[in-house]
Amino acid sequence: MLVAVIVFPGTNCEIDTKYAFEKLGQDVVLVFHKEEHLPKGTNLVVLPGGFSYGDYLRSAAIAKFSPIMKAVISFANEGGKVLGICNGFQMLLEARLLPGAMKRNENVHFISKFQHLRVINNHNDFLQKLEVGDILNVPIAHGEGSYFIDQEGLNELYANEQVLLTYCDEKGEVENPNGSIDAIACITNKNKNVFGLMPHPERAIEEILGSKDGVKMLEGLIN
């Protein structure tokens, strides 16, 4: 399978992301944001974490106008699988491929730590290898990760099984590090081919680094 990892000015997780998918046996190409086309035969596009365009104006506000994003948006609209991690999640929101918006963390601090997550729904590619109620331990690192959506939008997310992960403590009780509505950490679109999450599964693939809970998540996108 061919994974295209998009690199914007200010992206800083592309090498980790490439490493993670290579470790899972996949071919990975880094694609510069100025390209207008995705590599032929791309099966999965990953928008990695970082600080594209220095987070100027709003996180990911400017990245959505990069030349490659037109190709990414049509890829997604044609049913192609897209994963946005952290800044990549913010891009998917700004590009309206996912509903809602990201705000500053409620405590106004940049948060960088391991965080437990609870699997809410596994009727999708991304979390198909996990069970509902599973507790994962995956790093988060963001300053603007407070997910917001209006009540109507939130109801729709639940009705369509689009809420995939929430923040919790090690026992699975709600623990909300950033003030996200309903402690939401990961969502998908209606068609369940676009996935966005603030936590970094690519940083949780080896026991020596504290957790390999990210493996089962990323494996779900491989077929």
Binding site: A61, F65, K103, E106, F148, I149, G179
Partner: protein
């Protein structure tokens, strides 16, 4: 022509920066402050003499880039020269 765009979080969307500043003002004994909301101001100098055209163009700029209308409102002002 100078155009000033003010961007604010919508009413009902919690403003954590405003809350933190409010807290700091309270600890400085400015107890009369009821609420603080923080926004941003973008000052544009644009090549246009027709105010109506300018307004329309800046509205598009706000919708497409300057504001995220999911959570933010914007106002467009023309300061007296």
């Amino acid at each position: 022509m100078r155009v000033i765009v003010n961007i604010q979080l919508k009413e009902g969307v919690l403003d954590p920066q405003g809350k933190a500043v409010h807290h700091a003002l309270s600890s400085l004994k400015f107890n009369e402050v009821q609420e603080v909301r923080i926004g941003k101001q973008i000052i544009l100098d644009i090549n246009e003499t027709d105010k109506k055209v300018a307004l329309e163009r800046v509205q598009v700029m706000c919708e497409e880039l300057l504001a995220n209308t999911v959570i933010e409102n914007y106002t467009i002002d023309f300061p007296a020269c």
